[in-house]
Amino acid sequence: MKALVSALGAGFVFGTGLWVSSMANPKKVLGFLDISGNWDASLLLTMGGAVAVTVVAFRSVLKNEKPLWSEKFELPTRRDVDLPLVAGAAIFGIGWGIAGYCPGPAITALSALSTESIVFVVAMIAGGLLHKAVTRAGSTVRQG
């Protein structure tokens, strides 16, 4: 139970950061990605501020034997740069640049019940499921 409340708290602070920084405002995000006009560099500071915290604190956290309320640290293990990584990031960026939402801001924006955020999140979930279906079909073909 402690771990679940902790996850809730982390999500709450994360979401608050998205609102404070204006990441949850798609117009602000597009102003940041639109370098051809009046570029608004603010969100560069958001990414910089967040990474400044993680780069320092992750190091000391990972010196602990295990997390406070779970058995072990679950970290990504892959180190290779492959085509799905690059193609996936490119596809994600295209969608991000169209609407101004990435996953976290889109979810917290749902709370305002704007139609565009609801449509976006439903489509985003569908996109994830589509990828799962496509890769599953692909692996069946290769194995078959």
Binding site: F12, W19, A50, V53, L68, V86, A123
Partner: protein, 140 residues
């Protein structure tokens, strides 16, 4: 440059970083929102994912309850919102992360994979907004 808001941008970023440190220190998990969300639709579902997502939603409700400004966009075509959502969902699964997982957490772990992903999605995001806003004239 207009609408430059360095203080709130930096403060919000620090909160996002702190939340990511919290989730790693307490739960041993990477705060990658796309992965957490997609995991909800891929059984067996680990409960903590639902709690984290609920926290994101609660933050939005608390923000509004506190009377803070909620900038809603008017007139953005829903068909574009749907297309963008599909691309974001598909791309984040294929690339194994988004702005939070590769950006905030991956860069924090000094992962070369994440650095490549961040450079690619920043560049394609900038190209995409140029095409949709300035070439196709989509009102955003």
């Amino acid at each position: 440059m207009h609408d430059f808001t360095p203080i709130s941008a930096l403060a919000g970023g620090a909160l996002i970083g702190l939340a990511s440190v919290w989730l790693l220190a307490a739960n041993g998990r990477i705060a990658g929102v796309s992965g957490i969300l997609h995991g909800l639709f891929s059984p067996p579902v680990a409960e903590w994912r639902a709690w984290f997502i609920s926290g994101l939603l609660l933050a939005g409700l608390a923000w509004q309850a506190a009377g803070a400004p909620v900038p809603l966009r008017e007139g953005f075509p829903l068909v574009w919102a749907a297309a963008a959502g599909l691309l974001v969902g598909f791309g984040t699964r294929m690339g194994g992360g988004c702005t939070s997982g590769h950006g905030v957490c991956g860069l924090g772990r000094l992962s070369a994979r994440s650095l490549v992903a961040v450079i690619v999605f920043m560049a394609s995001g900038m190209a995409s907004v140029y095409v949709t806003r300035h070439l196709l004239g989509v009102a955003s």
